[in-house]
């Protein structure tokens, strides 16, 4: 039965899929960014005796556009899979609102908050597992010239549903840290995300209780400014 918890882990962890939140600075009006990305994710269920850790990878592509002087909207798609066997795919609608922007554009601090409703589907043996949810990141950015250190707090709520199961609501909270290195119209943006959910995980043995899921993601995105 080891395959079953492994699959369950991937399904659950997929709720956090694709952590990229971008800079804490909202795009200026009319500016657009196209962002390919890749990430290595590790999910770990905390057990009473041992933890179960599952790694996987996924890629993503996002488009974001500045609307007005404080708002940015965008769309992300992400996923990974082997057609016909197993895979996962997701789409998220991103919005970001500038709460504060320093007058010192080169060395000051910026603050923004986002809201990303998403739908994500994991497929195993042609059987879909749907995840619907919202992610709210609060991003703090410290500018270093054209570059930015981005620290974030993040909360998320996801609903998991599939054929033959009761719907499951999971709440996640965590933090992210990344650094955006701007070179001309391209950024290199490594980012690490850490998320935790207190969701109960049923043991496979009577004496085995599992509680809590930890998710760690190592991502690298490459935002390309289309009209700098």
């Amino acid at each position: 039965m080891r395959r079953a918890p492994a699959l369950a882990l991937v399904l659950l962890s997929s709720a956090c899929a694709h952590q990229f939140g971008g800079r804490a600075t909202v795009l200026e009006e009319g500016k657009a960014v196209l962002t390919p990305s890749a990430e290595l994710d590790i999910i770990s269920v905390r057990g009473s005796e041992e933890s179960t850790n599952i790694p996987w990878v996924q890629g993503g592509m996002a488009y974001h556009h500045g609307i007005g002087h404080r708002t940015e909207l965008g769309l992300r798609v992400f996923g990974f899979g082997i057609p016909g066997y197993a895979g996962q795919f997701g789409v998220a609608a991103d919005s970001k609102f500038q709460l504060f922007r320093s007058d010192d554009r080169e060395w000051g601090w910026d603050l923004s908050v986002g809201l990303s409703p998403s739908w994500h589907v994991g497929v195993q043996g042609d059987q879909p597992f749907h995840l619907f949810g919202f992610t709210v990141p609060l991003l703090v950015g410290k500018n270093f010239g054209r570059h930015q250190l981005v620290m974030g707090l993040k909360v998320a709520d996801y609903i998991l549903t599939s054929y033959g199961q009761r719907t499951l609501n999971t709440v996640w909270a965590g933090a992210t840290i990344g650094f955006s290195l701007r070179v001309k119209r391209i950024e290199l943006f490594p980012e690490v995300a850490f998320m935790y959910s207190p969701v109960k995980f049923n043991g496979e043995r009577p004496d085995e209780k599992r509680s809590g899921v930890v998710y760690v993601s190592f991502g690298l995105s490459v935002p390309i400014h289309l009209n700098p």
Binding site: A4, L11, Y85, Q124, G125, T167, F201, N202, E204, E208
Partner: protein, 431 residues
């Protein structure tokens, strides 16, 4: 609206009716009462005496006329309700290898014989005996390392697991097995599994943590990882069609014994043995589990207190296991605990039809066992495996003295919904 839409994603069970729930025709009363020397004795010999006879696991003999006459009412009740012979799979769904159950004709004949005076009949008309399928060769015998005295945690049932050494070096195939109970009257039935080397330490810990011999196994094999069910029930024999289960060096065996102390005043120490037929090569039967992995998370398989018929179901294409190629299904092992009331396993085809693999209309955890198909069943790359479990969490189906409470997937006090379909990959025709 949002909640309703999400709930709709759960879908609905496969609409194919359960054949085992359809009304069956009553016995034909126009014929003479079956006699012992006629049909009845032959049925008892073929379907009862294997366990209820010398070397069998049942607590008393049912070999000759007097054995049956002494326990006539007990036997009649057990046969009439189909509690005996212990074979949960309904014949309407599929045909099984070494099927011990009574077909409708045999059932009617035996019930009439027991209800209508047990006529002896004419010895001259005695029909020839048919022998049971024996184990064709005994290569290895494995015995419990120490005695165990059944100690039911509640009631009269004690499910106990014992970790046993596998004495063979290298990779071998178990191609048959036969149970040799130590104390027949107490050993209700047995299931045997091979433990892969990577799981031996984990199960050893379980055994070491228990002060008595073996360890508690009231959740059945569903709680153990990296095991391959070999077979079991009450007897055994050669596996069909040259099938075998691969056992690699470093593996161990888990012997799951269901002890019943019903009607026993003095419980004796038991030391059961299992005989194996072993070959260096065999058709390697692999196992495809059917269970929704999401059921392992929180309350996604919640059964509410008082619910008399909660149903959970799941289907998928086992392409990761079959490689997306044709397979030949060999057998099925269902798994629920004591709240399970009925279970169905099927192969769903792309054209909307289905092949019934197993229907158990009245689940009894105490008689959990694998079922080999009489003939292997083709399974196409686009076919899906389907399981449907019903649970009774009403007040009438609780452990002694307990009130209903919510449960989900889990061990003691909870339940599971799973089936394990054994298969071999179909050989591709050579060009």
């Amino acid at each position: 609206m949002w909640v309703v839409m999400l709930a709709a994603c759960m879908g609905s069970p496969d609409p194919t009716p359960w054949c085992s729930l359809e009304a069956k025709p009553g016995p034909d009363l126009s014929t003479p009462t079956p006699t012992w020397y006629g049909e009845a004795g032959r049925i008892v010999e073929r379907k009862c005496s294997g366990c209820h006879g010398p070397g069998g696991s049942a607590p008393f003999d049912l070999v000759d006329y007097d054995d049956v006459a002494i326990r006539r009412e007990v036997v009649r009740r057990a046969v009439e309700t189909r509690a005996m012979p212990p074979w949960q799979a309904d014949r309407c769904c599929n045909h099984y290898f070494d099927d011990r159950s009574l077909d409708d004709r045999e059932h009617a004949a035996l019930v009439r014989f027991l209800s209508e005076g047990m006529p002896l009949g004419d010895p001259a008309t005695q029909q020839p005996a048919q022998t049971q399928t024996p184990l064709s060769r005994v290569d290895v015998t494995v015995t419990m390392p120490e005695e165990y005295v059944a100690n039911p945690p509640a009631g009269t049932d004690d499910n106990r697991c014992f970790l046993l050494d596998w004495p063979m070096d290298g990779t071998t195939f178990i191609t048959g097995m036969y149970i040799r109970p130590g104390i027949r009257r107490q050993v209700h039935h047995v299931i045997m599994a091979a433990v892969k080397p990577e799981a031996v330490d984990e199960i050893t810990k379980l055994e070491n943590a228990d002060p008595l011999a073996g360890f508690d196994c009231n959740g059945g094999f569903g709680n153990l990882r990296d095991i391959v069910v070999l077979g079991g029930s009450v007897q055994g024999g050669d596996f069909p069609r040259g099938l075998g289960t691969q056992v690699v060096k470093g593996s161990k065996l888990v012997l799951n014994i269901h002890y019943s102390t019903l009607g026993i005043t003095t419980v004796l120490p038991d030391r059961t043995s299992v005989q194996f037929k072993v070959d260096s090569t065999a058709r390697d039967a692999q196992s495809a589990p059917i269970a929704n992995p999401a059921w392992l998370i929180a309350d996604t398989m919640k059964v509410a207190a008082g619910d008399p018929d909660a149903v959970y179901f799941y289907k998928y294409k086992p392409v990761l296991l079959t490689g997306g190629k044709k397979a030949l299904l060999q057998g099925v092992t269902p798994h629920m605990h004591t709240f399970g009331s009925r279970i169905k396993v099927a192969a769903l085809h792309k054209d909307g039809t289905s092949t019934c693999l197993l229907e158990i209309p009245k689940w009894r955890f105490g008689w959990e066992q694998p079922f080999w198909f009489a003939d292997e069943i083709p399974f196409a790359p686009d076919d899906e495996l389907y399981v449907e479990c019903h649970f009774d969490n009403s007040a009438a189906n609780q452990p002694l003295g307990q009130q209903p409470k919510d449960f989900a997937w889990g061990g003691n006090g909870q339940d599971m919904c799973a089936a394990f379909v054994s298969f071999v990959k179909a050989e591709e025709p050579k060009q």
